[in-house]
Symmetry: C2
Subunit: 422 residues, 2 copies
């Protein structure tokens, strides 16, 4: 089987790609060139039939992912499906199933049947479910899981292949060590078995599976900082160098690849973090979790994450993994999912405007014009969450030249500055 | 009467200033020097007895203001007092009474009696209440109002003295024109009477009142952009130049002064906006509203404002006026006030960390250490909103070496990375 990059190199441009280019206001040739260079990915498993693909990378709108999935404490797949719906309704571009309990395969089947959204997984989770300890976790078992998920139709997979034995002493210097679930599994196994990360050692086999179903690899950052004190340290950047090497191997195999990033990063280190990824990974799309710009906003980490995500997006991050108000505290509720997606979309919107994306410039301008003309319907339609807009809006009657109107909102009423100067 | 700057120049350092310096981890001499140079202000009306003063400016923590007050549509002072309480409880450093209906004086009396928080006003609002049009608004009436508020104990006052006749043609080029209530009043009067802004023309009289009660002037930006499309334009920066001149006049009169700023500003223009203020206004504290980094987040403008506020704070803004989820839609509810203050505090916290304020660095570090050791009580105590933290937290039992613990939260349970590597 050939990947999309194989096809594009041969000059075979599929019909759906023209639509994706239109969605991004890009010339198809330009999008093709960016995909072939590896600066844009369009995750799309060959077995995923009912998908509306999205482009992720430079020159495209910043995209949003919502994590859903069970935990050992809470395993209710009907509720998780509701969360997928909440994420899709709020405008997520992709969802990742991060389930770590229950029949994950049946769950993903439902997602793929009921939604047309891009789906990602972390196959090492499924590989670990049911095992007693990481000593039982071996590469052949991992491969069976990855192949199974590939055949299900998963579009992109997180592979923690950049974390190596030589990074472990660097982790000792950290306050918070390793906070990535996948990274912790790999690190524990490397320590106990005193062997190299099997995802790195067998990366060619992973590439072969990815190539077969045209899966986009998302190289996980097992050493993402879990506190701002650990950001941009030798451990994180050491892993990123290896990730850069893996990006090169993906490209040589014509497998689409993106790179995952932090985590907790103070505002003043975000630019360095993004630029480092773009340099070490030769422009590969950067997929960041937050980043959270302060450590003690639990309950409001969607806001801390939106601040970091907006800034990361301005500097070149391409794909924002949402953070919900439940981060660090519990599995998110339906409402948490909604709040998380909206906060990330605001961050993405801010980044798109800063990057001067023509459609972002236009939407902001139209909103301002609608404000100027008190066109509430257009404002509602353009709003990030039209339901909340209409729920919150309190229009008040004002009198202008003897004529009653419903022009102003209840904050200023007749004192509305725009109304005054009309 | 002498102002605090008069006193400090004479070497009279009041006792309370030592405590303010301690609150900021600053040497008193350093704080005194910054106040005398005008890089820090401590708004404190000589008639305001029951006040815990806060320092605003370079080298101090970024501070938060919450706007409260009535509108023509909603005039319920008991409810507004509840909002002051909500703002104080959430951690606001100051409140501004922006009431534009009812008996504002009686309301402020209640605030000053019941709270020890810094209080600001926009006296031109009171001056306009009860008038039919801006033609009736004249400087002697304005002065009576300002003097009355000064005697009440108001600590800082917004004066829209920088907006001049020559700026009005620049406003015509904008999409949204003028969105500041005070700016619109002044502009309307200048147009109708074809005369210069009376706040500018009579600024020495304003300085005299400010000097008498030691009121801090906050020079309002009547031309703050109301849409990202109007940010950093000739109108805004034209007014800012005049504000810079007024800052010089305040300093010459030993009157403390800060400068108000936008508004709606896209991410990539925030740095220029802040640096321009610091340059044109010779390091005067910068007090920004948001800024909102996207125009269509109504319902979530507290998040759009937190993104802008964090970035502005990193570049040097000193005082963040909160934005609530109700912005552009209605007068905020109690819950909106709470959400607005918390979002601004997260922005301020992010900026303080980026500015490497020692107490911010420490609090983040302590939070990470508490996470590492599963010390939930310390995490709750350090959190931005301890109530929400405890309401959200779902601890789950995990088994470690045969011993049950309550270590992990329900997101990961036994899969918790930190727990795994312990």
């Amino acid at each position: 089987m050939s990947t999309i990059i194989d096809d594009l190199r041969k000059g075979d441009v599929p019909q759906w790609l023209l639509q994706t280019a239109r969605n991004e206001n890009l010339q198809p040739e330009r999008l093709v060139e960016s995909i072939v260079r590896g600066h844009v990915v369009i995750p799309q498993n060959r077995c995923h039939m009912n998908l509306t693909p999205v482009a992720i990378g430079s020159e495209t709108r910043v995209k949003i992912n919502a994590n859903i999935g069970t935990s050992p404490a809470t395993c209710d797949y009907e509720n998780e499906l509701q969360k997928v719906k909440a994420a899709v309704d709020a405008g997520a571009d992709a969802v990742m199933d991060l389930s770590i309990s229950g029949d994950t395969s049946a769950f993903r089947k439902r997602i793929l049947e009921e939604f047309d959204i891009t789906l990602g997984t972390v196959p090492i989770y499924d590989a670990m479910i049911g095992l007693d300890n990481t000593e039982q976790l071996n590469f052949s078992h991992f491969m069976r899981i990855m192949e199974k998920q590939a055949k299900e139709g998963v579009d992109f997979m997180t592979i923690h292949a950049g974390l190596l034995k030589r990074h472990l002493p660097l982790v000792e210097k950290r306050t918070l060590g390793i906070v990535s679930r996948g990274g912790a599994l790999i690190a524990q196994r490397m320590k106990h078995q005193n062997e190299e990360n099997f995802l790195y050692a067998n990366f060619d086999d992973i590439l072969a599976v990815a190539s077969t179903c045209d899966i986009t690899l998302s190289i996980g950052d097992g050493l993402r900082p879990g506190g701002t004190c650990d950001a941009n340290d030798a451990a994180q950047f050491g892993e990123l160098e290896v990730i850069g090497e893996l990006v090169g191997r993906c490209r040589a195999a014509n497998v689409q690849v993106m790179v995952e990033g932090p985590g907790h990063v103070p505002l003043h280190l975000i630019e360095e973090n993004v630029r480092k990824e773009k340099t070490l990974c030769d422009g590969a799309p950067f997929y960041v979790l937050g980043p959270l710009v302060v450590d003690y906003a639990a309950g409001y980490d969607h806001i801390a994450g939106a601040i970091g995500g907006a800034l990361a997006g301005m500097y070149g991050a391409d794909f924002l993994c949402y953070v919900t108000p439940a981060e660090h505290l519990r599995l998110p509720s339906l409402e948490d999912v909604h709040e998380g997606v909206i906060a990330s979309k605001i961050a993405a919107a801010a980044a798109d405007l800063a990057r001067k994306r023509p459609d972002a410039v236009l939407r902001n301008l139209q909103m301002s014009q609608a404000r100027k003309s008190f066109d509430w319907d257009t404002q509602e339609r353009l709003s990030i969450d039209s339901d909340k807009f209409s729920r919150y809006l309190e229009k008040v009657e004002t009198v202008s030249s003897g004529v009653k109107t419903h022009q102003a909102c209840s904050m200023c009423g007749e004192w509305c500055a725009i109304r005054r100067l009309q």
